[in-house]
Subunit: 102 residues, 7 copies
């Protein structure tokens, strides 16, 4: 069966990410202190769109790549269930806070 | 009788889609988990407009084609009844989340 | 007496349309299912303006022509009474949903 | 005494118009049916500004000329009393709906 | 003592004006009929800024000059007291309605 | 100890100003009549940023210089305490009303 | 273990800063007088993103560098806990008020 990454091509500047499991979260991971839930904000990039369009209509390549680990904002994004797995979310590139070295 | 695809030409960056029947939805389809209705969000592209205009007024070709399967957002779009069939909807290209391999 | 089309020249990207009579509406016409009134949304283009202006101020020609049949949105537009006929409305080009083959 | 047209030079994309008298309104004039007041929306252009500015700051010539008859929107504009005459109004060019042949 | 005009250099597209005295208002002056106060809207331009900036950051020269008589909007502007005189106001160029011949 | 002007480099189009002391305010200074507090609105420019960026991202040099006397708006700006002195404020260039000759 | 600066790469025009400890705050530091909490607004730049994009989509280099001391606004930013340290915050470049000499 084709992997989700190849099956799913986000449009415009959207990025499909898969949140890290709470367990696999290494020591010293990144958390948003003020959020009561202490929800882990790290995820892996699964698929990226062609990019937002500039004023001429040309796509501007997205600045993260498949496999990168990224830091998510506390809010935003559209949760997606792929192959019965709830940990996928679609964000706009501009919503992502940072790339984080594994 | 001319098919709907040829009879109907969306304007600007609008895209006419036809939602997949719940039955034909293959295993592992895409659903938006948080939406109570578990409504299937996949549809087929029936017709596309010339595209949004860039700052010079030139149309920017739409990034999906007739026959593509796309993932719809939970809200938005204008429902249209064509030849007494209710499953058609017009979306702006920028509202569509992703292309999905069949 | 000069026809309305020649008497009336919309400005900017405005389009003057005349709604189809309910009777003349052919089988399989286009209706917006969710609108209780089942109001026919089809109309004929009577006159078009020079177009919206791009960033340099140059008009961008309108994408519909006199005589085209178009699909109207459920809301918007300014109703106009011309020669005591109430079925005329002025829309912005960008409000029109699609061109529809007769 | 200098005529109002020469005394009064609108700025930017403003247009000075004088509403037609109700009496002089020819048969088959243009009225906005839904407006309870049945106010005549036609007026004559008295003076025009240099035009709105494009992104470089250059004025974009206005698309109506002194003497044209225009169709006014139901709302908007700034009423002006010139030489004790209340029928003058300043509109932005983009507020005017259409040019109408006399 | 340096005149106010030379002492005061507005920034960007701002224009310093001095409202005409009610008395000096010649017959047939311009009033905004609907404004209860019948406040005279005419003023003389005292000083002008370099102009608003276009998209490249270059100033766009202001379309009124020192000494011009202008028609003010009913609202807006920042009242300024210069040398204990309350009749000065700073407007943005785009707020001014028209130039008026004396 | 380095002077505040050299220690403090505003970013973008921000300008650091120091409000004139009420006492040093020369006769005929500039006050905003309608403001109850009759607060003196004049200040001296202490430091300026590189400027706002135009559409290409290039900075547009600020139109006031260190040492200029400027007229402040009644509201806006961020009060800053430097070396225990409360009379400093950071404004955006576009908030400043005018340059005023000393 | 890789330092936070190398581990963490902000996206777009975001800047990661670390707030100065209250103790290490030298005499004559910068405080926002009106803020009751007298919270120190100075921080050190830890990591910077590639920059915001101009209208063509090209990144505009950020105007602060790693190691610079900056003045923070009273509000805004996203607090981040890195390696169990709560004093990190992500700001947009345009939110930062000024660079401050140590």
């Amino acid at each position: 069966m084709a992997s989700i990454a190849t099956k799913f091509r986000p449009l415009f500047d959207r990025v499909l990410v898969k949140r890290l499991d709470a367990v696999k979260q290494s020591k010293g991971g990144i958390m948003l202190p003020e959020s009561a839930s202490k929800k882990i904000r790290e995820a892996t990039v699964i698929a990226v769109g062609p990019g937002a369009r500039n004023q001429d209509g040309k796509p501007v390549p997205i600045d993260v790549n498949v496999g990168d680990r990224v830091l998510l904002p506390e809010f935003g994004g559209t949760a997606i269930q792929l192959d019965d797995d709830d940990s996928y979310t679609i964000f706009r590139e501009s919503e992502l806070l940072a790339k984080v070295e594994k």
